[in-house]
Symmetry: C2
């Protein structure tokens, strides 16, 4: 019987000291709960993704040094008997520089720490280079499969192999070689970002790969926000037959534990190095090591240490492993947005945010997410009525402020707008139309940025994905800011999340945070008299379905029409999406919840004469 | 003797019709000049880079259809006897979708067109995935080397192989296989963007690879601007012994021609398909075809056709090949900036630009580049003096306007700034300091964007690379705009280019376009009384040297100090550069002239706690 713990924790990119501290702290907790093996996420020590930091020699050196230091520190703190598998950044030293080779030959690596030492290391074999991943820019592929023998009760041992994240997603490679190695467990550090529905895909994948490997599979995933990415945790343990043994919480740090019944390793470990055809056109070398029979730290000893440090929450698992309750679809999307905002604010050294509150649903939801993320006392909202603002826009905004207890400030924009209009009139600047509408939005942007500079608040933009897709926003106006919490949320989902959040509050006996009127009234930018979104755009339920088919599913115009979309609308919307790229390029980042959030997962040239063929 | 033409032309991304038209037009010119083989650039038919358009099935289909159509059109116009090698976008149809495979398995392909047909195709084998290139996201590698036999005089034939761009830059692969094939000429379509000094590297590369291949090498490069990239042309023909035979102009469309003395092909062409070890761990199949002995169109016949179309400029080359004069370093940088601006404006459908003219050197040079690119009558400048503007800032700006004949407008910003300050004072907005300085810059941004919206002008930003690197700019203020002509130009180079441009004017007997005072006065943002750039930054000659070592050469702090930089300055500047990423992400594109222009060639995480170790 092997007690294993998956530590799904929140690393911060570049914070080597902080991340090393997490490894020690969570190993201590795992030891206190009797774990013999602890698996941390991919690139735990450096955070993920490090982008061009991978190409900086001083950073790679610091990662390697930090790895050795954390191994020594674990031993010094009495945790050297635990086998710790963790991700970090390493490099190959045997490759001469050449065109096409990432500078310094960096590796997306994993290490086994034990007895104060770095016992063995390996690197990710399959490098993802699609969606948000650009790993061929940064890494050289690994070509070994480490298998380490862990002594257990009765003089026997079990064998544990190590692979990393994408190694599970592509065929052949480490999983195939693991099957050949006879290891009873495959430990897999991951940094797999959240997408709606990806949890089901991941579970299916783990089940399938465990069966292929003929080994139990320990999938340890990161949690927390990093620029646009939000890692959801949701770590998974499956047995060799594919049975689910433990599953972690979503968007929370946790130790996901289980007792695994693994086959005893044969007495003879076999050759130290064994090259094997990996079934993907490459050869992978199985590299075996045997851990010395160190007594795992007695739970009681460590409990005293840990209690003194005030970090212990002992929960001895009942049965085989631990399971956390699953979140509903709106709950997990909402949690992703809250996590994304909380970590972007905190990890970038901000304490407070500021945003424009219009009385409409986008800014209402954004404010609510922010309040849930960092507390209402850290959320500053600015009401900036213009001459076209309806009365309800002010009263609905004030209602929200009261419900949530936010800091509110009212700054009417008429005097600034008039000053521009007056100064620009001689140059022929029009009193109405798009330039005049944009001017109002930009005056608001300047007010927000000014208050941000003066008060040290991060500006949140309130644009949703439907707007971002179609370019229905003002550059440097409503698109001005440091982070866009709902930039990947289509308008129809904005409404759904708002209703869900209110219902949750009611269920908990609290006041619904969002005024009902903000949810039910027809959307308007209020930049011209009587203006409605539907003057410029189709109804959002029609638009969002079309955008999903075009952007997420990447259908061409013929397919879109075959799928039942109106041909004229297809032509119009495709053109809007294709020509709004220059605006999207200058939009701030925001938490990603879909396959294609218009971040680096979907990029068109700005200079682009291509138009989808007119459907015939 | 084989007369070959390299058509270095300006393709536009997505403009399949326009690009096909260029193929026909330039083939006609080449035929008129007696060429038997014409080589066009990489991805000629689609433009380069197409980014996510490569993953859109409808676009790939359109590219393939356009290729067949252009083959037929060449034949119909009497040009079917010319062997035309051109780049286009294709796909593999024999690969099932799988994780990691770009959707639709696209190919960065080249085709031989002859006799109205697509005779043979191949695809780029080495895919670059560094710097500005992300080709593992978009393409599947090719695994064939086509060799076609072209009948020449006396019943003999010569053999021509085809490879694409990066195939030259990496060892092994098509060049190695070309040597095995015995082909006398390697024709290589390219889309190789300009970088300072890259022309020398390219020439050395062509010489080396020609010798390795044992074949003459025809390097046809694109010209023109595409978003941040500027292609410089500079096409090259070298003989098998490495002797330079012809070299094209920089940043201009041209037919670069030469008569090559190639070995006669053996009578027996050998097997149609011959797999060969490519020396890079892969196998490449040599695929041979023989063109029918079509009489090349007589120059006189085609001259008549072409004269009728009004496109003919007959220049019969003297000697072996044509050579254009080389540009000096400042001349080629300046040409890159002018080309980048001209094509960004034109290809995005603008006719005019607008920019803020401060009297300082950055905006003076930007205006001059714009006037050289699209003509002074299409350049609108706005003078926006504030209460801190010096008298010389207005007079220097007015002097420049007069010298160049630009459209000028003066919009004092005091009334707008005051309106904001008054409205924001109750919220504690300060009268001085960074927030107040940024406010002035943002008011100018709003004015420019308003005039842009009203007049349909593209806004040019005037920030230089030293500012962009250190974050010495205002988000949504001076950084607001659609294109930044000097965003990759360090301040010291801004001065050098300005002096060079004035000297060029003098040499040509014209008025120097830039007022001497704008070049010589100390730089200031003029956002506070008596403010100088040197209050916040070190002298630019010191700063630019340090930035070059840190950004372009990627030195760590220890190396920077060893290279002689002041340790305290190193610490300060590295920190400035590393923490300005969020501003750079929202900066508009601009022509790239260095290895790392802070576009996608250099990306740090925004959320990043890493600090270079303090030098000890």
């Amino acid at each position: 019987m092997l007690r294993i713990a998956l530590a799904q924790v929140n690393a911060t990119v570049g914070d080597l000291d902080g991340n090393a501290g997490l490894i020690v702290e969570w190993t201590r907790r795992a030891a206190a709960r009797g774990a013999r093996v602890v698996v941390f996420p991919e690139m735990m020590l450096t955070g993920y993704p490090v982008e061009d930091l991978a190409l900086r020699a001083s950073f790679v050196e610091a990662s390697i040094a930090a790895l050795h230091a954390v191994a020594a520190r674990l031993e010094a703190e009495g945790l050297g008997g635990i086998a710790v598998v963790t991700g970090y950044l390493d490099r190959r030293t045997d490759l001469a520089p050449r065109t096409g080779l990432p500078a310094g030959a960096p590796l997306d690596a994993a290490a086994l720490l034990h007895g104060g030492r770095v016992v063995i290391t390996s690197a990710k074999h399959h490098l993802p280079n699609y969606g948000v991943f650009d790993e061929f820019r940064y890494f050289v592929p690994g070509d070994t499969l480490p298998v380490f023998r862990v002594p257990v009760e009765g003089g026997e041992s079990v064998e544990v192999a190590m692979a990393i994240c994408e190694d599970l997603w592509q065929d052949g490679g480490p999983v195939a070689v693991c099957a050949r190695s006879g290891a009873g467990l495959l430990a897999v550090p991951n940094a797999s970002p959240y997408e709606r529905g990806k949890d089901d895909v991941r579970l299916d994948l783990c089940v399938r790969r465990a069966r292929e490997a003929g080994a139990a599979l320990a999938y340890a995933n990161m949690i927390g926000g990093q620029d646009e990415l939000v890692f959801d945790g949701d770590s998974i343990l499956v047995a060799a037959d594919g049975a689910l043994v433990a599953r972690g919480p979503q968007f929370e740090e946790a130790l996901v534990m289980a007792d695994l019944d693994l086959p005893a390793a044969p007495p003879d470990p076999g050759p130290a190095d064994q090259p094997v055809d990996a079934g993907d056109g490459t050869v992978i070398t199985i590299r075996r090591v045997t851990l010395p029979p160190s007594r795992p730290p007695a739970a009681t000893d460590i409990e005293e240490t840990a209690e003194a440090a005030g970090v212990l929450e002992v929960e001895r698992p009942e049965g085989a492993g631990l399971f956390w309750p699953r979140l509903s679809d709106p709950a997990e999307v909402y949690a992703a947005l809250v996590t994304g905002v909380r970590d972007y604010v905190r990890k970038n050294g901000f304490r407070s945010v500021i945003l424009a509150l219009s009385g409409g649903i986008d800014s209402a939801l954004t404010a609510t997410i922010a309040a849930d993320a960092i507390g209402p006392s850290n959320v500053h909202v600015v009401l900036m009525p213009s001459r076209y603002s309806s009365e309800h826009s002010v009263t609905d905004a004030e209602d929200l402020v009261k419900r949530q207890g936010l800091h509110a400030l009212t700054v009417p924009i008429a005097s600034m707008v008039d000053a521009f209009a007056e100064e620009l009139a001689p140059a022929g600047f029009p009193e109405t139309g798009a330039p005049a509408e944009n001017l109002q939005a930009r005056v608001r942007g300047v007010v927000l940025m000014g208050l941000s500079n003066a008060g040290g608040h991060l500006v949140l933009t309130t644009g949703n994905k439907s707007e971002l897709a179609t370019g229905y926003s003002t550059l440097y106006g409503d698109s001005a800011g440091g982070f866009g919490p709902i930039k990947d949320v289509p308008k129809t989902l904005v409404w759904e999340l708002s209703r869900w959040r209110n219902a949750e509050a009611l269920r908990a006996g609290a006041t619904p945070p969002i005024p009902e009127n903000s949810i039910t009234k027809p959307p308007s930018a209020e930049l011209a008299p009587g203006q409605m979104d539907t003057d410029s755009l189709p109804p959002y339920d029609v638009l969002d379905k079309l955008l999903d088919d075009y952007v997420e599913k990447d259908m061409g115009t013929a397919e879109l029409i075959a799928a039942g979309h109106d041909p004229a609308l297809v032509e119009r919307v495709v053109r809007l999406v294709d020509t709004a790229e220059y605006k999207r390029r200058q939009y701030p980042p925001g938490p990603k919840i879909s396959q294609k959030n218009f971040g680096r997962d979907r990029r068109l040239p700005i200079t682009n004469r291509w138009r989808e063929p007119r459907p015939s």
